[in-house]
């Protein structure tokens, strides 16, 4: 059985991700168990200050996972990136020795770290078969962010510069995808607390590009990206009510909707910004203005 590594955010700011993800799993009958005793991957902070810690924190989780079946599924792009980077670094025997000593556990490097998108993609045919018309006609910009595909020296789950896995998934779920040039741009998530202005600027560029390309909605599989973009729109809207708003959804929310999930099932109301165009009422394109995705609030 696959083990699931949720990462810290999934129990707080990315709750909707977890909720929708679990709903989709259930709906598709995917069996998955949370990795027992998992701990934080260290995110940006560990590698910002201490090299060894940046390996030790993910390694601890890998050590737990290696006894429990080979696959570890990760939802958060940052966790995915940290786990993959650590695993790659641990191939170096010097680093491995050092880390094993601190951990006090053996590491065999066997665990297969999978991105949530890979798992969902395996079920794309079913999604296609069982989808409703819920998101049909929606123009979706898939946003991967920087961490999911850009892992140095590691072959990720998809093309580094032009990933398409999410697009294929969204198409299977019945919406239309766009080719747009910012899908792996960095949103500056690690700066959203420490230097808001910069993070805001980076997010705005991405949102602006999505708007120019005609996106109705932006989907992502990274909790940091979702939060950051959502936050950026929210912040902007507080000073500029005219600022364009595009719903930023988790991929699982969109897939959940397509599979017949309700707004509640996928926690659609959790978006920070009240958007005039929640995806749901978009079914009949013309209805765009009626939409107010905030029904659950």
């Amino acid at each position: 059985m696959m083990r699931f590594y949720p990462g810290c955010t999934l129990s707080s700011s990315a709750r909707p991700y977890r909720r929708s993800l679990e709903w989709v799993w259930q709906r598709l009958g995917i069996e998955m168990k949370e990795l027992p005793g998992w701990t934080c991957c260290g995110a940006t902070s560990a590698h910002a200050l201490n090299r060894d810690l940046a390996y030790a924190l993910p390694a601890r989780n890998l050590a737990i996972a290696q006894g429990l079946g080979d696959e570890l599924v990760v939802a958060c792009s940052a966790c995915y990136s940290r786990l993959k980077i650590a695993q790659k670094a641990l191939e170096n025997s010097r680093i491995r020795e050092r880390v094993m000593k601190t951990l006090g556990r053996p590491l065999d490097g066997r665990v297969q770290i999978k991105n949530i998108l890979e798992v969902l993609s395996e079920h794309a045919p079913r999604i296609q078969k069982e989808k409703t018309k819920a998101i049909e006609g929606l123009q979706v910009a898939c946003y991967y962010g920087c961490l999911a595909t850009r892992i140095p020296r590691v072959q990720g789950f998809d093309d580094r510069e032009h990933p398409t896995m999410m697009e294929r998934l969204v198409s299977a779920a019945g919406a239309t995808t766009l080719d747009w040039p910012a899908k792996t741009s960095c949103c500056g998530a690690s700066f959203s607390v420490i230097h808001e202005a910069i993070a805001l600027k980076m997010c705005s560029q991405i949102l602006e590009m999505a708007r120019r390309c005609g996106a109705d909605v932006l989907v992502t599989s990274c909790p940091f990206c979702q939060y950051n973009l959502d936050w950026a729109q929210w912040t902007r809207s507080r000073t500029d009510s005219q600022a364009p708003k595009i719903p930023v959804l988790f991929i699982t929310q969109l897939v959940g909707l397509a599979l017949g999930g309700s707004e509640r099932d996928v926690m659609l109301g959790s978006n920070l910004t009240p958007h005039p165009c929640s995806p749901l009422p978009l079914k009949g394109r013309g209805a765009r203005s009626e939409g107010n995705g905030e029904s659950s609030v």
Partner: protein, 1018 residues
Amino acid sequence: MSEIKHGAVAVVGGGIGGIQAALDLADSGFYVYLIEEGPAIGGRMAQLDKTFPTNDCAMCMLSPKLVEVGRHPNVQILTLASVESLDGQPGNFQITVRQRPRYVDITRCIACGRCIASCVYQDAKFPSEFDAGLGKRKPIYIPFPQAVPLAAVVDPQTCIFFKSGRCPQNCLKACERQALDFTQTEKIFSLDVGAVILAPGFDPYDARLVGEYGFGRYANVLTGPQFERLLSASGPTSGKVLRPSDGKAPKKVAFIQCVGSRDLRHQSYCSAVCCMYATKEAIVAKEHDHALEPTIFYIDLRAYGKGFENLVRRAKEEHGVRYIRSMISQITEIPETKNLLVRYRDDSGSLHEEEFDLVVLAVGMRPSAKGQELARKLGIELNEHGFAKTSAFNPVMSTRKGVFVTGAFTGPKDIPETVIQASAAAAAVEALLAPARNTRTQAKHYPEELVPDGMPRIGVFVCHCGSNIAGVVDVKAVAEYATRLPGVVHAENVLYTCSQDNLKHMKEVIREKKLNRVVVASCTPRNLAALFQDTIREAGLNKFLFEMVNIREQCSWVHSDQPERATEKAKSLVRMGVAKARELKPLAVQSVKVSPAALVLGGGLSGMVAALTLADSGFETHLVERSAELGSDLKEIVRTPEGEDAQSLRAQLLGAVQRHPKIRVHTSTTVQELSGFVGNFSSVLRSPQGEERVQHGVVIVATEAHEHKPNEYLYGADTRVLTQRQAALDLHLGQPEAGQGEQSRRSLVMIQCVGRNEKRPYCSRICCAEALQNALALLEQEPDCQIYVLYREMISYGFLEDLYRRARDNGVVFIHYDEQSPPVVRKENDQLLVTVRDARLRQEVLIKPDLIVLSTGVVPDPYNEELSRLLKVPLDAHGFFVEAHIKLRPVDFASHGVFLCGGSHAPGTIPELIAKAQAAAGRAAIILAKGQLEAGGIVASVDQEKCTACLTCVRECPFGAVFINEQGLAEIEAVKCQGCGICAADCPAKAIQLGQFEDIQELRMLEELFHPERVSAV
């Protein structure tokens, strides 16, 4: 040793490399199978628009070669063919060939294109290979207008008939020649050959793999090869630079260099040609459209070859091409305009974002996939980059005996180097197969020539070319008209003049009607004149009693909208042709015997290699060396850039030269006098022992170039300042220059491009590699030494890039300085101080080295001037010898029979010079192998009565063919004359006539064009 049995050679790959090798071999007595994977020969060069560094038209250079190889009696071209296996021994191989069906009989197809026009696909739909995917073609197509063989081909992958079996096959019905044959099947057969040359070339790097540039996703991001097609007049936009997204003319065009090259994520080596092809493309684009603003983004600008620096200078100064030393990380497409956003850093370090209308990716070269497959099948080894493995001392030999390799298959290289290698490979084959020379070639025998006496009896054949001509021009009327022209005793219509049955018929008519001149009114003489000339020769006529009138390309095909006027014009053209025919004279072609020996000037590396190659091919060779010993320059070189030991090479060469029975070494000897012409030179050699006269058929100049001795940077004033060559010797001999203790090599500075200035602007090509080599060698001895290399551009082209990387990996620090702010060296309390402005950091940097090594570049031997006068061969502005044609005749001088190699042609590394020397020897051997030369035909001759000895012709002949004879009058050496007619046009006394283009012949044509009344008058 196995017996040398077969005087035939298989050349695999029909690019410029394969073509050159095939021609050289076929011209020197070997039969050649030219095996090409595609439907036509020509390779990548056929797709190019212009070629650097001279920017002349690629097709203009290539097309005559295509035609030449296409009709060479000793070359058989096998297209759509690949090699399956190779068995046997050198000299006695069996090569198995698989030939895919073309579905068109090339002996019947006349490339009229009717089948294509009638294909069920009304519009061309499939990406055209020739247009690099930018243009489209149909399932049946002619690869390109100048293709050889010029015939249609069916692509079974896209043809409906093959895909579904349900096609009305309109093409088949449309063909008037019944040339289509859908029942053709694959053929597998075996050929006996003595040796094999592999020339499968390269593939452009797949830009899709460099995802950050969005090729394949962004409409306006093209590759270099695609842009080349966009520039080409025969390309998809007829030579207009237009954006694929909207068909508009772009204004700002960005070129991004090193795409897929010099990149550990892709290919670690440098592709060696893309800096220059981008420069060329930028200039050509700018010439097409002055409003264009090209920008080239690069890391190092590798303009290292002959004439390259000059091209870059022109690009900058005359064409305003902007060069920015900054690589682009990614391209972003602007959704609304499809413009492309590019971010770069300028010289001041600031970052800019700029929009471009079009981006061209300078993709590099990778080993051709087909070539790699071939290597596997033939069991030859590839190097770590997947190119054919060769050794530095045998640059065209594969790891399997009897199998040679050439061109871009051995590593990224440009056309001149490909041609050089091709000739070198041909020379190596000749040396191997010398005993079997002329055993497989066919000498054709013709009947005794009839001497035309009396009145002209002209036969006119007016071709229908199916409906190609007859569909527009009233050919019957034209033939009927011809019968009424003066001198015509026979005129007829022929359905297909070039068909075998008609050629037979033509010979019969010539005999029956006692024709003494023939006019064919059909298609272009460029393709078929030789065939018809051969035919009339078989019927006993001198082949120059023939005139061809083009009523297809020049008439029916361009005036199809005005059939009546086309018919009128056809009549005029025929009338003109007949008028010329009346004045035609038989031209004699004499044979001149060749002195079967060679004279090689210069006994260095190049001279020795050239002499050995010639001698191995069986020719007596005089090796003339000015100094007292052979290979003295080589004594001072430690290693090749590949790391092979130059001294063992020297020893090998010396031994082989001295042992060779066919080589006569003349040391301490100079050439005092040289006279004669190709095939028959006579020279006086002077040595301390006295003078000696030798006869020889060819001359090879293999003289040298020296390391420049600088007068800056304290050179000569401080013993701690050395040149690279001195440094190499020190390292090699382990004895540092006076005053250098072991511990004093802690820190060392190398300064590149010393003495390179306005007067000597060219890049010397080898000093960067030398610096890398020396730095690495030093670090081996003293790992703690800190080395700083101050450079303008790192010239580590091709596989040398690995050396550059190795040097960095070993801790050598490379600091780029601007041409305008060169380093400064001074001394303070005996401490050497070097300051340099690090152009990347934009900061002055101070280094305190213990030793300074200067890369001073290469200057030609001043003695070259004397040689140039003696041999009447040109020197360029810098004192290097000038070849006949930089692209296609890189080791020939314009004067026939004189060849060049060695440093005094252009600087090069040892393997490059070896290939060049072999090539020169191979080219020279062609002349010697023939035994006799044909002189005459279309050549000029002086009417001694009229000549006033004004010397105009002597001055104007580009080939030095005119000389003043004993009577003090001009005379033309028929063997040297190329038949351009420049002398004839310039002669103020009108004393010179050019055969086949005599004034009277030309003027008669003019008269007849304007005065048709004359016809009825007679």
